[in-house]
Amino acid sequence: MNLLVSEGRSPALLALEDGTTFAGWSAGAAGETFGEVVFNTSMTGYQEILSDPSYAGQIVTLTYPQVGNYGICEDDFQAPRLHLCGLVVRDMCHTPSNWRSVASLPELLRSREVVAIEGVDTRALTLRIRGGGAMRAAISTTDLDPKSLVARVRRSSGISDRNHVAHVSCGIARTERVDGAVKKRVVAYDCGMKKGILDGLTSLGCEVRVVPWNTPAREVLALDPDGVFFSNGPGDPSQVWATVEAAREILGEKPVFGICLGSQIVTLAARGRIEKLPYGHHGGNEPVMNLFTGRVEITSQNHNFGTVFQSLGPLVPEESGGLSAHEKELRAWSRRGVAPVVRNPLWGRIQLTHVNLNDGTPEGMRFLDIPAFCCQYHPEARPGPSDASYFFDSFLRLMEGRNDFLAPDANDGRSAYAQAR
């Protein structure tokens, strides 16, 4: 809201560890928050972003400048609580309009005690993050002295210093039932699972047993599920060793599917390497080449860490277009139209199935010798495009024992999940 429209608002300050500060006004709860600052380029879907548990430990900057326009819609929450550290916007809407809206965004932020700042030149901030990478930062409505706040940011802990998953995962297991016939029974490791993912599974007839992140594998295997799912979640995957251990025990025993952090957990379970991307992927417009179909999916993404595909093992030339040396840049595979295969010392052959066309990072893999696959982005969208919603059908096919679970026809037309939306 503009200063000329509303006088007497509380000032707020945003400080970055590189010493940059932005003055603005409080647009949420009063107080102070410290976290890693990232930007998200989605133009809509602020509510889904705010309620995505993967943002725990992060201060989210929305690049679209006017935020809160359609208010808050009960059905769109991705988790019951808001886990992000704070929100940065250019202009906050206090008078929203939409037929489903039940509250304004600033009202929600205040009631959920999320610190937020508006009036910030979010484009300047975004360019700063693009140049300097995701940084530690703070928003404060109490410490408005730039020097002091910057100094305190520099003393604050980094995102990898903490296990954020432990904080956002469910405390006790529960079962999500389906309306019709139960086709498959799935155990889902909740590392901060979005509601959209749960909906994606249940809408296909999967009864889902949601379990805490550190549930031992034997307890899961004792349930004898048809498949095991590893969810998205916040922070550095090296913090969730318990889940990685569980994944290693479950792989090969049960069909496995992982999304986002779940994908990184699978990588670690295969002793692959994880890297931190300079400023991550956060948005709803990332182009991903599906190496099976040759088609591009516009995807919804939210991650700062990712798999290093080359670390999973040496190339299998006969299944990699005859090449034996790893490409430095995975987009080369997209140009060649080849889905390369590596030989993993633990699990046999792993194939690259999806590549990000913006920066060549791996976006999807499947295991050829055991029933498992994973994707780094968000097929459930929410927010964002639903081009990749076929992944849920693919999981169902995998559990049905079909080898062609990722076949081109899996993403012909809109999946049942997309239709259900």
Binding site: M1, N2, L3, L4, V5, F22, A23, F39, T41, S42, M43, T44, G45, Q47, E48, T63, Y64, Q66, N69, Y70, C73, D75, D76, R90, D91, C93, T95, P96, S97, N98, W99, R100, D121, T122, R123, A124, T126, L127, R130, G283, G284, N285, E286, P287, M289, G294, R295, V296, I298, S334, L357, N358, A381, R382, P383, G384, P385, S386, A418, R421
Partner: protein, 1070 residues
Amino acid sequence: MPRRDDIHKILVLGSGPIVIGQACEFDYSGTQACRALVGEGYEVVLVNSNPATIMTDPETATRTYVEPITADSVERVIAREHPDALLPNMGGQTALNCAVELDRRGVLKRHGIEVIGCDIPSIRIGEDRELFARAMRDIGLSVAEARIARSLEEAREAATRIGLPVVVRPSFTLGGAGGGMAHTVDELERIASQGLELSPVGEVLIEQSLEGWKEIEMEVMRDAAGNGIVVCSIENLDPMGVHTGDSITVAPCQTLSDVELQRLRDYSLAVLDRVGVACGGSNVQFAVNPASGEVVVIEMNPRVSRSSALASKATGFPIAKEAALLAVGYTLDEIANDITRATPACFEPSIDYVVVKVPRFAFEKFKGTSETLTTRMKSVGEAMAIGRTFEEALQKAIRSLEDGHAGLVEPEAVRASDEQLGKLIARPSSHRIFQVAEALRRAWPVGRVHQLTGIDPWFLYRMRDIIIAEKTIAASGLEGLDAPHLLAAKQMGFSDMRLAELCGQREDVVRAIRKVLGVHPVVKTVDTCAGEFAARTSYHYLTYESGNASEHESASRPRVLILSAGPNRIGQGIEFDYCCVHAAYALHDEGFETVMLNCNPETVSTDYDTSDRLYFEPLTFEDVMSVVEIERPVGVIVTLGGQTPINIARRLKEEGVPIMGTQPEAIDLAEDRERFSRLLDELAIPYPASCVAQTPEEAVRAARTIGYPLLVRPSYVLGGRGMGIVYTDGELTSYMEQASHVTPDHPVYLDAFLEDAVELDVDALCDGKDVYVGAILEHIEECGIHSGDSACCFPSFSLSERIVANVRETTRRLALACGIRGLLNVQYAVKDEQVYVIELNPRASRTVPFDSKASGVPLAKFAARIMAGRTIGEFDLPPEDRPFGYFAVKEAVMPWARFPGTDTRLGPEMKSTGEVMGLDKTFPLAYAKTREAIEYRIPMEGTVFVSVNDRDKRSIAPVALALSGMGYDIVATTGTARVLRAAGIPCTQINMVSEPHPNIVDAIEQGRIAFMINTPGGHRSRGDGFRIRSMAVSHGIDLVTAMSGATALIQAIAALRKGSLEPYALQDLR
């Protein structure tokens, strides 16, 4: 899939003349397409009858045919060029219709031509509403309930079934021409009968009304591999019921949640799949029920459109260029994003600003027509603005219109009573945004305004915020605004002028205080990705941010700022944009870094690769100064963008801005009638007797000395706005009383009107020492008809060499005497072998692009180089008096069918929206081509209706004799019939409109009249003639309203009877 190698030569169709609903956005798209295809190594054959376009520059395509875009004409080009493929989706509905017709006639099959980009069946599904509705139901999408009607009877029945109100939409017409909303049976009958008439297939759709629903457009691209992306979503501020071309629109969509928007995305891609768009850009329109989220598909266009031009400018994603590449086999992932150069084009742009487009109207030129906005487009242009908030973008867009609004305020709305205001805002019109602002100013609750207008409360709340801010500013006064508050005002988009109004100060005071407080704009970049990747192009806008983070880069070469022409309007359109684009090309080649400033999203000048740097900003003094202060150009070009930059040239110079080319002093000399008359006296150059008057009394006194008829007009206008010819004291007095509203500060000019004189348009270059006369255009219509509405011919077809030499010499002397550096335009009247100067424009004129195409000399480029210090001697120009083996005719295109109720006679006020060019061996053949290009049917036989005024009675006999000799039957009204019979010409007498039946009305309705010659009586405007002319328009009958035009038409018919037309490629003329 890579580039296709099995095709080599591609035929591209343009969209023809600028008309309402199909304007220069298709020059932008066509130019991009031609360039992309030529760049890929294809031979491109272009057909477009519009000479004012960049796409018809001989350098743009391989073979350029400025020929009619009709099946006949295009077939002639096909027979000559033998293309392998046809790309029909760049030239709007005109090109699609032509492609469908070529297919129907079997031309494409006969010549083995493949349609690329879209195929004929998908065009049909997109355009045939019944097929489309069926296709949508196939994929489970709702469409508005609708029924096809092929007669008035069927229309009534359909409306009864669906229930009033209903929307009437004719099939296959431009911009929804002939359509409208019917609330009553009377309205239904009126709109349906007109729609049936206008639809080329005699078919209308009667459709359930969705009044009050949100209107959302999705700009979608798809490639042959099946990849689909949504480039941009656009939300209409005006709800359903107003044509999207007439709506204020906002990008991206503001009031839909992600769930709702993604649903529309899914639907859009499914629509393209189902309609069968193999590849290319399409536009899908939806209506969304604001109370339930229910979605209905309205329509889809399987081609680039006005909306896709807007989406391209709004996001930086070049839809037309990509669509052309997709048509030749590439897939989206194989094309690089031009802006980042590191990421592929297969993504969905994310923007971090708000874009508002506001339409510009010209109702003041079409008196008598309804100003209510409907589903039928009436706007003539648009301005786009970029801001960090909707509030800022809206206020910038409003002032970009250049129609006297410094902010969201209009005096008429302020004066309205509450009761009047309530009625006004309930009716969509070009003034409604200001009326809504006024209602909010009176503290009407948002809920009430929403009830009355249907505008989404979100937009109303944002406008209310602007009003609250206005009140805060007014209450605190300028002295009460500290830096943060002034910054906040600028962030909301308030212009200095509006702030001055609110605080009771002068604009320059606000400006001075703003500078003292350090509140100045920052540069931001349109980069398609919201800052995620570095941008390699310099497409910018200005905004205000705390922290002052600016993305400005310092210059490596000296910079030149080119001020373009702003939104299209009648009198100032694509021709000026053409000149600015040429200047950008020429000055780039001269070693400058070119900076373009414009706010028109439809144009080539606002393409990010036309100039080195682009600022999408309004063209007001304040905004221009902001760019000047950031860019520090070595020169600013003010003489190529029409009257817009001319109007601020003097103020810029006073601020110390270096003006390139003709200086403001010279501009003043030419535009100040008294000083200019003195100059003409000194040079002993004749001009019609004239004087200046400020009051009716002064005017009448002056008329006594000069004598009637008089040409009267306000000073400092373009396109003859407010111009008239008066024959009596009474007319003069009433003109003077009305004229004071046009420009209160400026007097009115009175010139002796030279009846029946031949008018000439001359465009010339001057470098201060030498003058080069680029073109002398001879008008077909006589003096008194605005030069923009008159047909003209190059080279002249009836002037003696002595006159031509005299005109050249006079132009030379005038150019040097005025101190022109660049282009000038002089208008002459030739009467009784005497050459009179009517006016001199010290700037590029509307005819420069036509001259350049006709003569082969790109005048605007040379003008720009002169401004950069070159001399004419360096250019190696061809001799002025060289012979030409052809004639080029320019004919104006009138928008009458859009404005029912207005008189269609030509006069001194310009009313045409565009022009076509015809080029052939003789003048009559070239003229015939212009008729074909405007799709006037030239009837080769039948009955001609003739009714002329008393002045023309003498000259009608030879014309009628010729018609009779060619086998036409003649019917004539009483007076005309008497003259014809006296001359021994057979004719049938027919009753006039006001006389008893059977009369001419019956004859027209029975379809018995092939064409009409009707010259209006001197000064009556609302008589029988008016009704005849209106009927001609509504029945699509060719009508000539001037004797000179009648003569030309008859010559054309005679020439056509002798032989068919031959196409000419511009490349062959050199």
